[in-house]
Symmetry: C2
Subunit: 450 residues, 2 copies
């Protein structure tokens, strides 16, 4: 049996950085990364296969290149068991590999709610499998009526890209909540997202549940709880994802309160030589330590860099899930980090908010000008930032990361209002109109008047 | 004599936020803003008049609108004197206005070095005056050979925009240092800036001084110290700027070590009722407290928000100049904050750096893809970030502000490596390749091996 110092199970947003981090900090250790498919799709790139990239095989993580560049051995096979007492794994190909330290990064699978008709042909989920994703591509080539069930990020992005795949496709999102993206945004931003999609011609049915997917063999319609029926030749389920824990459970590892593999703050499972990270691992909120069901690449890579560094020497601690999201809908960026105002209030946190909106160029007739709207949410008691919501210009993709870092570091409204923000005519708002600083200043004014 | 609670002298990047901040925190106070020209150019927009906006009157700060929106009275006239004992100012129009608190935000003027021939026709500086800026526009319409003296940001931007004004103009930058932008970048980024300009057809003459501007009545050439002569029908001086302190000196206010109006950390001058902010005010380094000659809109607005809030109740403290810059040269963004590696070493600071480069989309064939290169500089002893340099994608304009805030807040390499950075195919690099985090991680690896 071949033995490695480190084995990583999983080759996506958690497995790869776990392995490359281990390589950086343990240059002498031998590392094997085992993944179950040869071609690993970029998870957040999946919607863009359909309206932008147009080919699942062009949306791949370059695992082979990363492996070669980091002296990481690669194996393509499904891991069938972990023997934690004798410290080896077995694979579907019939091999066994011994380990000193093991990282479980088995990811997640799409949730399929128990809707009658879910097994019909042309009902799709978002599986991280290129062959399956090509089948959806082929179906969209002939689709006339697509119903997307679920109006979170993945549902909104899939609907947008289906419309871009072919504008004559009739695309409808059915969402239980009264707004799209409601877990991530306060209402005013949800409405902007809804406007972005309706302008593109996507139909939105809110505050509505799916009762049944109808059809014989293949989908022909979607019946709603209100009694209405939608024509549908294609249904896409964008409900969310559940941790892949079967392998870990079979090996005797415990499952935690958030339904992921139980880990301590060093990302160590209930077996001291096995670590878990990414979608398969248990999570807790940065804000109050409560179990968190969030599954994001940003969390996976962060956890992977904790697991990878801690394998032989504990040096990093997980401080919990902040949540940092970004997307583009109909050429408008949407991004958010931390808690919404509503979520904070629901956690009994008194908040102060500040907002600012301005064009991201100065003067506004500079090329590339787009509006950028910033809302910041602060805990009143500590004056620290706990959330941010952005809309508009594409630079929101970097700006939300600044806000995520500010949340982690506990920056106050005053500190954000007072840092020196560089501005440039071709890149940002003017120094007088700079949104991030002005939103923080607005919160400072409110705090000052308390 | 009309009396105001607050008078602000200056209507640009310092005067306006000083007045609007005072309005926010002192809603009952009367405020007058006096500026010497009716139309105030956006300072950092000036180069873009010539190759992008094509009209000085379209590059204006909307002072009248801001005044009306904030209940700030406006007066267009040059302030001719400050009587600090009787607390009033006089203007060129012959008026006098009494004040309780005064903010001096008189800005800066271009430095004109004592080069023979500097008084010739068609030798221009970068004056914040729309009429003068139109004269330069008219000259560029007929120019064939433009020599820009000085290869800092303003010189590089002016050269780039002259070439965009008309590609057949022969544009040459003459710079004393061996690289462009050397005060702000380490060598590898300076070289990228030089490549960006030479690709556009700008000629660069480095490590060279101007001995004389030659011509009869109007410019005909530029003689260099090495003996070479350049044909020139237009010369633009982009050497830097000096604080406008005449009014303050005449009023008996002291001047500080950095040649600006002496202020304490509350932005108060040597007269307790007079504050100063922006280019005219004295500055010190965030890093070691040494006098700083930096003059930037980002610093001006920060200082203005200190002065404005402190007028009647001291609530904010100036922690010194970080320095945050961004620009675009030939479609590539360049940005920097804090100290370069070289500047830090020159201050006897031992440093650790980390760099990362990746395309800002994932997969890389997503629309809008551009390389983004990040270099971070950390103080070895504290592991805190003290500088950052960026090249490439336009999102650098927001990313550099994140870095500037990280510097202010004293974030460590470990904290930057471990925050949760959101990523999206259409907006950023992949979670695995995300440059800011990977650059910090690279520094963490080096620190770990020490």
């Amino acid at each position: 049996m071949k033995k490695y110092d480190i084995i990583v199970i999983g080759g996506s947003a958690a497995g790869i950085p776990a392995a490359t981090t281990a390589r950086k900090y343990y240059p002498e250790k031998s590392i094997l990364l085992v993944r179950d498919v040869e071609y690993v799709p970029i998870p957040c790139g999946i919607p863009y296969i359909y309206g932008t990239i147009m080919d699942p095989m062009k949306n791949l993580i370059p695992v082979t290149k990363i492996g070669a560049g980091n002296k990481i051995d690669l194996e393509v096979s499904k891991v069938t068991s972990i023997n934690k007492d004798k410290k080896f794994v077995t694979t579907e190909k019939g091999d066994a590999f011994g380990y000193e330290k093991l990282v479980v990064a088995t990811g997640s699978k799409p949730i399929v709610p128990p809707i009658p008709g879910r097994e019909l042909k042309n009902v799709f989920t978002i599986k991280k499998n290129s062959v399956y994703l090509q089948q959806l591509q082929d179906q969209l080539d002939v689709a006339k009526n697509v119903v997307v069930i679920g109006g979170g990020f993945i549902g909104a992005e899939m609907a947008e890209q289906c419309k871009k795949h072919n504008p004559i496709i009739n695309v409808t999102i059915v969402e239980m909540q009264d707004h799209l993206l409601k877990l991530v945004y306060d209402e005013e931003f949800c409405i902007l997202a809804e406007e972005a999609l309706t302008e593109l011609g996507v139909n939105l049915i809110l505050s509505e549940q799916v009762k049944e997917i109808s059809g014989e063999n293949k989908v022909s319609g979607v019946k709603l709880a209100s009694g209405k029926t939608l024509d549908a030749d294609t249904v896409i389920l964008g409900i969310g994802a559940a941790a892949n824990t079967e392998l870990a459970v079979a090996a005797g590892l415990e499952i935690g309160a958030s339904r992921g593999i139980k880990v301590n703050k060093y990302m160590q499972t209930t077996d001291e030589n096995i670590y878990a990270c990414g979608d398969c691992a248990g999570k807790f909120s940065f804000f109050d330590g409560s179990p968190s069901g969030l599954k994001l690449a940003s969390i996976a890579t962060m956890e992977a860099r904790i697991a990878g560094i801690n394998l032989f020497k504990t040096r990093r601690v997980n401080t919990g899930v902040v949540g940092c999201f970004s997307t583009v809908l109909n050429e408008h960026a949407f991004a958010a980090a931390g808690l919404t105002e509503n979520a904070a209030i629901a956690k009994c946190c008194e908040v102060v908010t500040g907002s600012a909106q301005a064009v991201n160029r100065h003067p506004g007739l500079m090329p590339g000008a787009a509006d950028l709207k910033v809302k910041l949410i602060f805990e009143k008691a500590s004056q620290k930032i706990i959330g941010g919501e952005l809309y508009g210009a594409y630079s929101a993709g970097e700006l939300i990361n600044a806000i995520s870092a500010f949340i982690s570091k506990g920056m106050t409204a005053e500190e954000i209002a007072m840092f020196q923000a560089g501005t440039h005519p071709a890149l940002t708002a003017s120094p007088i109109a700079y949104q991030l600083v002005n939103a923080a200043e607005m919160a400072c004014v409110k705090l000052d008047r308390e």
